[in-house]
Each structure stands twice: as C-alpha cells, then as structure tokens.
C-alpha cells in the first residue's frame, strides 16, 4: 500500500492505496465522488476526464500514486458552492448537449479545457478536439454547439441562448 495525498476540488485529501489503483478508482471508490464516469477499459471513450494540474486527462489511465501531490478538479468541482452552474454546464443544458448523461462529465471537463486553450475555436476545431470523447446518444451536434456557446460564455460572461424555433 502507498500513502498518497492530493488536492481534489480545492480540498486536501489523502488515502492508502495499492499501486495499481487508478486515479478514477481513487476518486469514485475512496472519495465517494461518482461524477467521474468509466465508459470503457481501453482509454478511448473520455468519460473519465478530470483536470489534472489544470489540464484534461483520462483519470482511468493514470495511477493514483502518480497523482500524489497533484491538483485535481472533477465535474463536482465546476459549479459554485451555491449550485450556480459553470458557464459550460449551463451551455450543455441550454444546447441539449446531453441525453443519457453518461459521457457528459468527461465532455464538460474536456470542453472547459478546449475553451481555455482555444478560446476562439471554430466548429471544425471543436469537433477535432472532441475526438477522444465518445457519446452514444446525441450525434454530437448539440455537444458541439454547447462547447462553442459555453466557450463564448466563459469569455464574455453571457451565454448566447439557443434559437428554439
């Protein structure tokens, strides 16, 4: 067993884990935070994305011991403590960027990462950047619209509303 400690959503947490424990297992099973999902066992679906030292990574493909001393943000860490959604979460709601919601935590974490790196990304770039996030339900159109609108909202503070006609 190995003693580890890290910051998760701003709080210092620690635990005693086997070296083979994945970061996602530590988050879900040790910390009891089940927002981060596991959608595959081949590192391909992206459902497990978290921010690791400020960047999107697949928490199913990093060992908890590797993450010792790091700063992690999960989907639970995005909204304000009073429940106000992060602009990207609000955009996913407004633009129907989800159906069953299984892929959504990973989608939103990657979307925030894309918006930070490429604030003016066009649609083709957003689609390319979402290559590692698989959704079984939506057909991606709503997701892509949400990422672009959420990105704009992160910069301007105003979420462009969807034309519902």
């Amino acid at each position: 067993m190995a003693k580890i400690s890290m910051t998760v959503n701003g709080k210092t947490v620690s635990g005693d884990v086997e070296p083979r424990t994945l970061l996602v297992q530590f988050i879900r099973e040790h910390l009891g935070m089940t927002g981060t999902h596991v959608g595959c066992d081949t590192s391909q679906c992206g459902a497990c994305n978290v921010h690791y030292n400020g960047e999107a990574v697949k928490s199913c493909t990093i060992l908890a011991v590797q993450a010792d001393g790091s700063d992690v943000v999960t989907i639970e860490g995005l909204a304000k403590p009073d429940g106000t959604l992060h602009p990207m979460q609000a955009a996913f709601r407004e633009y129907h960027g989800l159906q069953c919601g299984y892929c959504t935590p990973g989608m939103v974490m990657v979307a925030v990462d894309i918006a930070r790196r490429l604030p003016c990304a066009d649609e083709a770039t957003v689609r390319e950047e979402l290559y590692g996030n698989i959704c079984r339900c939506t057909g991606y159109q709503g997701i892509v619209e949400a990422v672009m609108a959420g990105s704009e909202a992160m910069q301007t503070g105003v979420l462009p509303l969807k034309d519902h006609h």
């Binding site: 190995a2 999107a56 290559y131």
Partner: protein, 265 residues
C-alpha cells in the same frame, strides 16, 4: 491489473539503478500505452519505475542545426512549442495529430519511440527526419533503431534520454488515420536538406522504414509527381482487417505525394 511495486525516480541515474534492481521492471512515462496494456493484463511487470517527475528529461531546445526533444516531453508540448513550429513545423503537426488532447497531455516522445508501435506517428518522424536517439548508454541512428514489430535496438533497462532532429530545409507529415483508433494506417514524413531527401513511412509495415527509390526521385525533382509511379512492394507490408497489404502499398504512394505537397506548401 496485476499488482506491482511502484517507484518514483528522481534522476536518470536513479531510474537506471531501480530498473536494474527490479526482477522484471518497466519504465512508466506518460502511461498512455503501458497503463491500458496493464489494465488488459497483457503485461505483468514486477515494478514500475516512474520517470514522470525527472526534470532533466523534460524540454525542447535548438542548438545550431539540431532540434533536441527530451524523452519526457509530451505530445502537447511538442505540438504547441514555438521552437518546434519554427524549426520543424511538420513535427508539430505530427505531435498534434496523435490521439486526442487528453492523450497528448500525458503521452511522451520517449514512450512513443521506445514502444515502436507499427502504427505510431513518431517513428515516421524519426526515420523521415533522420533523428538520433540518445540513451543513457549511447547514441543510436534512426536507421538502426526500429528493428521490428514493437522492437527496437534498446537493450533491457536502457533509457531514452532525448531525440535529436537535424533541422531540414523542408519537411511534411501526413497520415491516413484509422477512423476509430486514430493511429496511422499509413503515415509519411518527407524531408529535404540540401539535395538529400528522406522518406519515412509508418503504419504500413511491421516497423517504420525508408523508401530509397522515392528519395532518389525526389532528390532530382522535389514534386509529388516525381513519385507518382513508384510503388512499394506489398509483400513486405502488413495485412489485417483494417487494410490489405496491397491497399497499404497504394497508400504509401498516395500519402508520400501528399507529404511532399505539404512540405512545399
């Protein structure tokens, strides 16, 4: 995943010592290949030696006509590096096409090179640019490095420290990506330095290789048309459910032409 001992090395010397002491130790770099392999129980190392926190293994620098990328430099760093974009833009393109953003945030040039996946992108870059692999023991020329399917000239426990790329006058990289995996069904790096041309191909054969006939033709006339009628023999190429050897042979010509066009653009 089978269990293992985890050790974090603070220096290259310590990593080399730890790997020597282990029964059946493996280096852990970005983990983007090794961890999925462990999850599938396709490997059972006794120890993982994590080189992820070794500062001397990170960084990109240019000295004279050489671009040096240290082993633990991530695909993301290579893709977004101003030095790489200026010295060898085709290499920045190559790194930016590996996997997805989350993979690029973790995966490294050293791990990708050591792993020698037949469909990985970096081997085409290394062979097509004529890079030199520096290890903790010696320097290995690109032409001697990739020796077979997932096989390299590395000895057990030998660590890649850096990859040195000679800066060409022009270079272009293009891949025909497998739609589901994103890996190269065929990827080609073409480079021109003076009147020397190199053509490095990945994805098509068991390991990255050069195409001397194309190199000779391009040395005379550096245009896509110069190689339009040069066919690589299919019997040396891979054949699987994704592409037959004949189709891969066809792709070598098509993608090499596009890589030349990219180098001229």
């Amino acid at each position: 995943m089978y269990n293992f001992e985890y050790r974090r090395a603070q220096s290259v010397a310590e990593a080399a010592k730890l790997i020597k002491e282990a029964d059946d130790g493996k280096i852990l770099a970005g983990g983007m290949t090794l961890i999925p392999t462990l999850k599938q129980r396709l490997a059972q190392p006794s120890d993982l030696i994590d080189i992820g926190k070794i500062a001397e293994l990170k960084g990109i620098s240019v000295s004279g006509k050489t671009l040096t990328i240290k082993a633990m430099t991530r695909h993301f760093d290579v893709h977004s590096s101003p030095e790489v974009k200026k010295a060898i833009p085709a290499l920045a393109v190559l790194a930016g096409g590996i996997g997805d953003p989350s993979v690029r945030h973790r995966g490294t040039i050293g791990g990708s090179t050591a792993n020698a996946d037949p469909a990985a992108d970096y081997p085409a870059g290394i062979v097509g640019l004529g890079a030199t692999i520096e290890t903790n023991k010696r320097k290995i020329a690109a032409d001697d490095f990739f020796t077979g399917l997932f096989e390299t000239a590395l000895e057990p426990g030998e660590l890649i420290i850096a990859v040195h790329f000679p800066i060409p006058d022009k270079a272009g990289y293009l891949k025909f990506a497998h739609l589901a995996s994103g890996y190269a069904t065929c990827g080609v790096m073409v480079s021109k330095t003076g009147n020397q041309v190199r053509v490095g191909v990945t994805g098509a054969g068991p390991n990255a290789f050069r195409v001397p006939e194309m190199e000779a033709a391009l040395a005379k006339t550096f245009t896509p048309d110069a190689i339009a009628n040069i066919k690589y023999p299919a019997d040396e190429l891979l054949s699987d459910m994704h592409a037959s050897a004949e189709y891969r042979a066809h792709l070598v010509t098509v993608i090499a032409k596009r890589a030349v066009a990219a180098a001229l653009a």
